[in-house]
Symmetry: C2
Subunit: 338 residues, 2 copies
């Protein structure tokens, strides 16, 4: 069955998100309506701050995956619209809290919410969106969905703390890094796709298949993000280039460059990750070393492996528009350069 | 029925928390076991940070109210232990986020978590506890409880944002202040007691009565807290005296002192709340003005009114040890000076 996919890959030099966008257009209109409606509050600062981020050009990838997975499951109802909005609210809450945690200046190409509205309001509006997401799930009424998403939220928080503890620690291993991104990123992707099988009442096997799809896509997505941060060919991203470097985050390109480095290079990395090399020229050195040792490409290669696993996880679902769109979205996610 | 209560008040010059502690001792042992068990994580920083606050001498008032209310409802099961722990986790999460929001130095008489562990970890462990609290509710499996507590959490966040917006605004009215404390404090008290009626399956009237009890107690409790912050007779509290003043928080003693002040005094308040009078001598002036106009006593008087409403809300429940203990706990809460 994955032959379709291999053909797909051979057929296109540039995978596109267009089939995914077409597949989910109508559903995402409904999801967006829920998002806009339920971020409202009698306290005007809440929709103002939430809207700053939510209207700020996010791709809404996670709710889009819920909508696509519901299509794949042949689900004809509308329950997933509210739940997809709940997924996006959890994601938005974690972004707001991340920006406070990282002291970010930019998010999605504009000033981060913490810069515009301050840390206090940003933390609290994150809490609002997080609570609102559970209110949406309660309205839906599925304890199974509540279990999946409350567990995912807890795992995200654990992953974020784990990442915080690992930052500035040059000894962080590739395994530890994979554990961190499985928690902080992939858990919500897995939950976003899994809940589609729950509302479609397809049973445990399909739930697990969609969980595996989302989880592997999430890992592939984060690996690609982390590669782009040091990719000398990549376009400008919406966040400050070199943020990961200056924060001493141990992402895979750094882990690999440190492992492959000469003694002098390793000393550079030890100083950089400890926070003693934060100038633009240090970032340029880091990019140069990472590219010299092929660590962007090696990170992308691992992303492709997880991407293929995501695609393989869909083998048991019927071939057709939904499966093709989801597979091409995986290809797109790992090939992107921004 | 409230004659018991009036007698109780006449009988004791110093109401005591002892009957409440005795009533809930066994239940709270079980709740504490759940709290300690479920704040664990494979990421050691999480229980370390959560434990710093949780083991830091909190009164666990909210879970204690759940346990007491379950006794009042004649509930013989154990479901409320997990749910009381969920309530405490929500409260702990909001305290952690509050300390980041307020930049607190002290909490419960020792260094606040944000000082010891930094803002990033403090925000994220708050998120962990918040998610964990929903996991506990999902394990219990009552959608009604999930609805009550997800709604309460959202209202708390709205109240906190509302308070943030109102801070440094001298024109904040008494009504607005009451609206803020109803949300940021009383909503969780109301939910904590209401869920006892849910697990006891007593029906809507008793749910509403316990909601009213908790809500009025919560308002009385916050009014008393806010009075103590400016009470020249009060003992040292666990937080920095004058924090509210320096943050420009518009609490009732300030609102009343401003309303009752001379033109010169009003100018002082305008400058102070705007953040231009933050010295120790300014705090001393604030305390002097508030006490000169009887605003601590006026705030306490309002607390007594809400306390009496809380007590009256229990009139439909059987007289006995549980009701007496809860009524005396209300008296205790509004009479305390620390």
């Amino acid at each position: 069955m994955s032959a379709d996919v291999i053909n797909l890959r051979a057929r296109r030099s540039q995978p596109s998100l267009a089939p995914m966008l077409a597949l989910t257009a109508a559903g995402m209109n409904s999801v967006n309506a829920v998002i806009l409606d339920r971020m409202q509050s009698e306290i005007p600062l809440i929709p103002a701050l939430a809207g700053h981020l939510i209207s700020g050009g996010g791709k809404r990838m996670r709710p889009m995956l819920t909508v696509a997975a519901a299509e794949l499951c042949g689900y004809l109802g509308t329950r997933h619209h509210k739940l997809a909005a709940a997924v996006e609210f959890i994601h938005t809450a974690t972004l707001l809290h991340d920006d406070v945690v990282d002291g970010s200046d930019l998010r999605r190409g504009k000033a981060a919410a913490n810069i515009v509205f301050g840390n206090p309001a940003t933390v609290l509006v994150g809490d609002f969106l997080f609570s609102r997401s559970f209110e949406l799930m309660v309205e839906d009424g599925s304890l199974k969905v509540l279990k999946i998403l409350s567990s995912a939220s807890r795992i995200i928080a654990e992953g974020e703390v784990d990442q915080l503890v690992a930052s500035r620690k040059i000894e962080t291993s590739e395994d530890h890094y994979l554990h961190i991104i499985s928690a902080k990123t992939a858990a919500l992707f897995a939950a976003a796709t899994r809940i589609a099988a729950v509302v479609a009442e397809l049973g445990e096997a399909q739930e697990q298949a969609l969980d595996a799809f989302g989880r592997n896509l999430g890992i592939a997505f984060q690996l690609t993000d982390d590669a782009i941060d040091y990719d000398s060919d990549a376009q400008e991203s919406g966040k400050d280039k070199g943020d990961d470097f200056r924060e001493g985050k141990m992402t895979l390109p750094v882990i690999l460059a440190y492992a492959r480095g000469t003694p002098d290079e390793r000393r550079f990395w030890e100083e950089a990750i400890a926070g003693f090399r934060t100038e633009d020229e240090d970032l340029a050195t880091a990019v140069e070393l990472i590219n010299r040792h092929g660590c962007v490409e090696a990170t992308r290669e691992r992303a492709r492996v997880y991407g293929q696993r995501a695609i393989a996880a869909l083998a048991g679902f019927p071939a057709g528009e939904a499966r093709n769109a989801m597979c091409e979205a995986v290809e797109f996610a790992i090939a992107r350069r921004y």
